[in-house]
Symmetry: C2
Subunit: 143 residues, 2 copies
C-alpha cells in the first residue's frame, strides 16, 4: 500500500496487524502518487482508479489484465489528472459509496474470491471450531 499522505499512525497500525496476524501486506507513506503511477505504467503495470464516475465494473472486469495491477483510491476531492493517468476508471456503481466498500468488492472480484480461503501464519489466529450458534473462539498467541 502506497499512502499519498504522511500518517505514522496508519503505518504503525498496519505493520502491527501484519506482525501479529501474518501475511505479506506492506505500507509506505509520504509517496508521490503521480510518480508512482507513471513508474507502474512504465513497468507495464495496469492502473485502475475506483470512482463513481467510472464505467461499470461489470463492463470492465473481463478485459482487465490483472497480472500487475495497481488500484488507486482517492480520498475526498480527486485531482482531475488522476482520471487521465489511470488506464481504467471503474465504478462499483455510480451511486455514492464508501471507498473501502469499492476496494473490497473490486479485490474480491479480481481474485475470484480466493482471498476468502487464504491461509495466514502470524502469531495470532482464530483457533478451534466455532460451534455454529454458540461458540466464540478467542485469538491466542502461537508461541
Amino acid at each position: 500500500m502506497l499512502l499519498a499522505a504522511s500518517d505514522q499512525s496508519v503505518v504503525s497500525t498496519i505493520r502491527d496487524v501484519v506482525q501479529r496476524w501474518g501475511g505479506n501486506f506492506w505500507i509506505r507513506d509520504q509517496i508521490n502518487w503521480r510518480k508512482e503511477i507513471k513508474k507502474w505504467k512504465r513497468d507495464r503495470g495496469t492502473v485502475v482508479h475506483l470512482t463513481m464516475y467510472g464505467q461499470n465494473l461489470l463492463n470492465v472486469i473481463d478485459q482487465l489484465d490483472t497480472d500487475k495491477l495497481m488500484v488507486v483510491i482517492g480520498a475526498e476531492k480527486v485531482p482531475p489528472d488522476l482520471f487521465r493517468l489511470a488506464d481504467y476508471n471503474v465504478a462499483i456503481t455510480n451511486q455514492p459509496h464508501s471507498e473501502i466498500a469499492a476496494l473490497s468488492i473490486f479485490l474480491d472480484r479480481v481474485q475470484n474470491g480466493q482471498e476468502l480461503a487464504a491461509d495466514f501464519s502470524g502469531r495470532m489466529r482464530i483457533i478451534g471450531n466455532l460451534n455454529e450458534k454458540v461458540g466464540v473462539k478467542r485469538s491466542e498467541p502461537i508461541e
Copy 2:
C-alpha cells in the same frame, strides 16, 4: 438500517444522500438491538452476524435463506450474547478487517452482484458516456 446508537449526523447524511441520489434505503437510530433481533426472528427472519470469529462465508453462503435477512455488524467490542442471538456468525476471513469491507462482500455475494447493475432515480445521477481514459462526467441535478 437500524443504528444502535444516537447519531443524528449519520441519520441526516444518509437521508440526504437518498433524497439526492434515489433508492429506498432508510435509517433509524437509537434502536434496541436485542429487541430488534428477537422481533426479526419471531417474524421468521434470518439473522447473520458478520464477525472474524465466525465460520467462513464460503461454507455458509449456500445454506443461507436470504428471503428475509438481517445483517448485524458490531463496532469495536461486540457483546457476547450477539453471537448466541445470531442464526449465523459469518467470517469474511478470520483476519482483522474493516466492517464495511465485510458488509460489502457479504451483500455482493448474497445479491449475486445484481446490485452493481441497479438503477436509481434520484435528483442527482452520473450522466453521459464516460470516455474510458479521459472523460469525467459531473453529476447534475435532474429537474
